[in-house]
Symmetry: C2
Subunit: 143 residues, 2 copies
């Protein structure tokens, strides 16, 4: 179904439920989701969604992922308070990747940094390009 | 190794080769790579890299992915001419996702659109939000 949109012009549309049924979840039932701060364009993180977390995100407008390590729904910010409000959800040309435009409260990264992509390759070194906004021990109630 | 950087301050660094050895490629030897236009912040596409394509990208500064459908190196733009020049490569906190800041020539998407995320959920519809910059039949020499 999503392939139909290849030849669509701006403004043409399909019913969401029809598109949902053609999204390409992987063998674990997951699809990658990129979170981007809606107003600054900053790429905050990449995580995974299953169909349930995608539906919940669209219903509540609070971003919910699937945690592969914990094997459960991961309501972003449920333990840290650093929630993501969904502004807009986009699907790519192949129907196998999502782009979430969000409004991120505080730090998106579990290290307490604003975004997860803080390791920058510079020549033969990997350099950390930012400091945490908040100590992760405080974020997760360990101190 | 990448986990060490969690507690690093801005400016601290590790040797690239040590970090490379701890990147988390999946069971197919692949890692997701998000391409973002370096100056505008536009998220262009998401694709996959293996170790060979990552090394080539860093060496040549021309982005090279691994094509899962064709099972071969995919030098972005090799058939369409729509190349991506690598400006900066970043690694996320978990070492399992890459962010490529690139300078995209023309269209990143195989549909001829600037970016792949042109399907926008609006209520119960999925609406196409952009037109191709160039006809894909021209891009791929079919007409």
């Amino acid at each position: 179904m999503i392939e139909q949109t290849e030849r669509f012009s701006e403004g043409q549309s399909l019913p969401w439920q029809d598109v949902l049924n053609t999204l390409k979840f992987n063998e674990d039932g997951l699809i990658p989701a990129i979170a981007q701060q809606h107003d600054t364009g900053e790429v905050l993180m990449m995580a995974w969604m299953n169909r349930e977390s995608l539906n919940e995100t669209l219903e509540t407008k609070q971003v919910c992922y699937w945690s592969r390590s914990r094997q459960k729904l991961w309501r972003k910010g449920e333990s840290s308070g650093q929630q993501q409000k969904l502004i807009e959800l986009r699907i790519d040309c192949d129907g196998d990747t999502l782009l979430l435009l969000v409004d991120q409260w505080g730090a998106a990264c579990h290290t307490g940094r604003r975004n997860c992509f803080y390791n920058v390759i510079q020549g033969d070194r990997v350099v950390v390009n930012s400091n945490p906004l908040v100590d992760p021990d405080i974020l997760y109630g360990k101190s």
